[in-house]
Structures are given as C-alpha cells and as structure tokens.
Symmetry: C2
C-alpha cells in the first residue's frame, strides 16, 4: 500500500505534538498546519515550528487569520482575563474560542483537498471535551460527514477521515504515548499566557499539563512561573 498523506493540525502544545508523532508512527506522510489567529499565546507558534522540525514533516504551513476581530474568548480578547485554574465550573470556560476547531478543521480540509490527502489529524482529547463542545466525538463525526459532502474529493469517492488518536486518553496517557515515540516535550508550550522563559503555572492548560506529568511520575520539563 502506498504511503498515505495526512494534514496534521499543530498548535505547538503537548497534545498536537503527540498527535503528529502518532501520525508519523502510523506511516503517514505528514503536512503540518498551524494558525496565527490572534491568540494571546502566539509563542506557541515558535513551539510549533520547533516541534515540526524535531519530528520531521514534509511541509509546515502557517495560516493567518484574525479571529481576534471576532473575539468572544479569553484567548483572543485581551480584555477577558485567562481564569486561574480551580475556579472553573461545569460551564464551558471563557478560554473556549467560538467555533475554533470547526474553522481549523475546515482549513485543514482545504489544504488536504489540494494535497489529495484523505486524512486529517487533530489532537482533541477526553480531558477537554467535557468543556469544549468542539472536542467531542459526535462533533468529529458530524464534521467528517459534512466534509465528504463539501469537497470535490469527497464527491469523487475519496472520503476524508478525521483521526483523533488522543480522544479517549488522559493527559498522563498522552504523555506516555509521546515519550514512547520520542517526543521532546521541552519544545512544546501548553500555557495560555506564556512568556519567552516561563509558563504561568496557574491557567487550566498549565494545570492539566503539570498533573499529567505528575500522574505519570515523569519530570515535567516546563519552567513554571508559579
């Protein structure tokens, strides 16, 4: 069977780095896609660049997209504070970016169609999908169905498959998987409000990351500010 081509969404965080490593381990020829969407944690794009080089991809493309002009999220609107972890409720958090995964997968779909790739990888996972609607399996299934009606490739009988290899894994399991595949997590940034030297240590993304390493009993290479 010839090598299959995949577009892998790569944010520069822990999950998407692991997802890329998994896609590569499964033999896919990988094209990485990152988004400069006005996020306050744009440093993650430097991490994405390092991760793509570290793991090796055929091409790494950046799409510019001013989602901050739409706002509605603490991640794209600097007037909304990133909440300190532990105070969140069952509600969808303010770090939710409206329709973000829909937008990102749509752009991944566009590139996949140009590349004649039938595979899309996204690092959504179980830890997130209690809070973010667009991380749930039923969303992914609906997106896949829509994608196959939306595109020339889908219409011509080359259906798209959206792969979510992390969807049922805990953060510790994700890290274990990635370490087994040689991922260097010191290159990744999970924090919602990092600076060049440190992760904040108090946002949900930092908490989930730190807990993952702790649960696995592995040293977290991240430098936390607090």
């Amino acid at each position: 069977m010839p090598t299959q081509t995949a577009v892998v969404l790569l944010s520069g965080g822990l999950d998407s780095a692991t997802t890329l490593a998994i896609a590569k381990s499964q033999g896919y020829a990988c094209y990485a896609l990152s988004f400069d969407y006005g996020q306050r944690h744009r440093l993650e794009l430097e991490a994405a660049d390092k991760v793509a080089k570290h793991l090796g991809v055929i091409e790494h493309k950046f799409i510019n997209l001013n989602l901050d002009s739409i706002g509605g999220s603490a991640l794209t609107d600097t007037h909304i504070d990133v909440p300190i972890t532990g105070v969140s409720t069952d509600e969808i958090p303010v770090t939710y970016v409206p329709a973000r995964n829909t937008v990102f997968l749509s752009l991944g779909l566009a590139w996949a169609e140009v590349l004649s790739a039938s595979h899309l990888f996204i690092g959504v996972n179980a830890v997130d999908y209690s809070g973010y609607p667009d991380c749930r399996p039923e969303f992914i299934t609906a997106f896949e169905k829509m994608a196959n009606l939306a595109t020339k490739a889908g219409v011509e009988g080359h259906p798209f498959k959206v792969h979510t290899p992390l969807i049922h894994l805990s953060k510790a399991e994700i890290i274990q998987e990635g370490l087994g595949l040689g991922v260097d997590y010191s290159l990744t940034i999970s924090c919602y409000q990092p600076n060049q030297a440190y992760a904040c240590g108090v946002c949900d993304a930092c908490r989930l990351r730190a807990e993952g390493f702790r649960a696995l009993g592995v040293v977290d290479p991240t430098q936390y500010l607090s």
Copy 2:
C-alpha cells in the same frame, strides 16, 4: 417576537447582495461578513462595502485569511488561468476554491456565536451547485448539523439555522427578487477578474450574470470589457 439576529456572508457579488436584501426584508438584524482571502478579484470587497452601506447593516466585518497560500484554485492561484466561459465540462471547474464555503460558514458560525445570533445566510444557488459541491442542499444540511454539535450555543439549545434563500432560484429569478427589494446591482461585482472600470465579460461568472439580466429582459448595469 423580538428581532432576530443574523450573520450574512457578503462577497460583493450579485447573489450575496440579494441574500442580504432578503434577510433584511424578513426582519433580521443583519451583520455582514466578508473575506479577504487572497482572491484575484479583491475588487469585490469594495463592492461588498458599498452594498453593505447601500442596504444597511448593523456591522460589517472583514476577515483576512491567506487561502492563496493553500492555492488549488484559479481564484487564488495566479498561475492558473480563469477559464473562458463555454469551454467548461461537467467536471468541477478550476474556479472552485477547496472547502471555501465550509471555511466561510465556519467563520460566520464563530461570529454568530459571539453575537448570540442563531441565523446564518449564504447566497448559494442552483446555478452553481451542479459544479461546486459546497453549494448543494445536502452540504448545507450537514453543515447545520455539525454546527449544532460544534458550538456552545448549539449545545445549550439555541440551534443554528443556515438560510439559503437563493438555492432553488435561477439567476434571472434572483435578479427579479433583488430588484423588487431595491438592490442596486450596479454596486455589485460578479466577475472573477475585474478591473476598476470593467468586468471581463468572458468568465463563467460574467456569463451567468449577463444571461440572468437578458433572460429577465432587464438592462444589465455592468460594463463588460468584451
């Protein structure tokens, strides 16, 4: 019943101008959304601005998005010529932009969610959907279903509705509808390769537009180069 809010995708062409006029005539409070996506016919954005001011919207937002870096279409890749009308076959034309309506609707969905709007309007129509997969009714239905799984609003029981008021209309019927609602078509640009003064007169978009006016027996205000 209170006024309902709608996001209307507005390209600056004939179809989307008519769609906006219809949404307004149905009583929606309209927010227009346009895309600077690296299209060769960027002049349409000036038309979109004029149309939004002419018909009246609460806000008109432009999203910048470098779809030309993905390419794969005569509309975003200047190395691919826009075909002269009449030579096209049953195949999907090279002016098809991969996953464009999926991407645009996704961004419309994002803004709708921020605005607490449950309605999206898009001017896809029957003339196009034989050629472009993402203009077909089954695509719209699948998008709507996906959107309601993707979003906080959908999850919380405020389902999105994607309105396609032109979907079963011919170009002549669309123009008739728009004229009845006071649309000034001299403000709109349909051509895939216009200059400041003229439409090319030889692309599919020009041909469909000119035929629509001719079939209706109404003067086409467009200045065609040939």
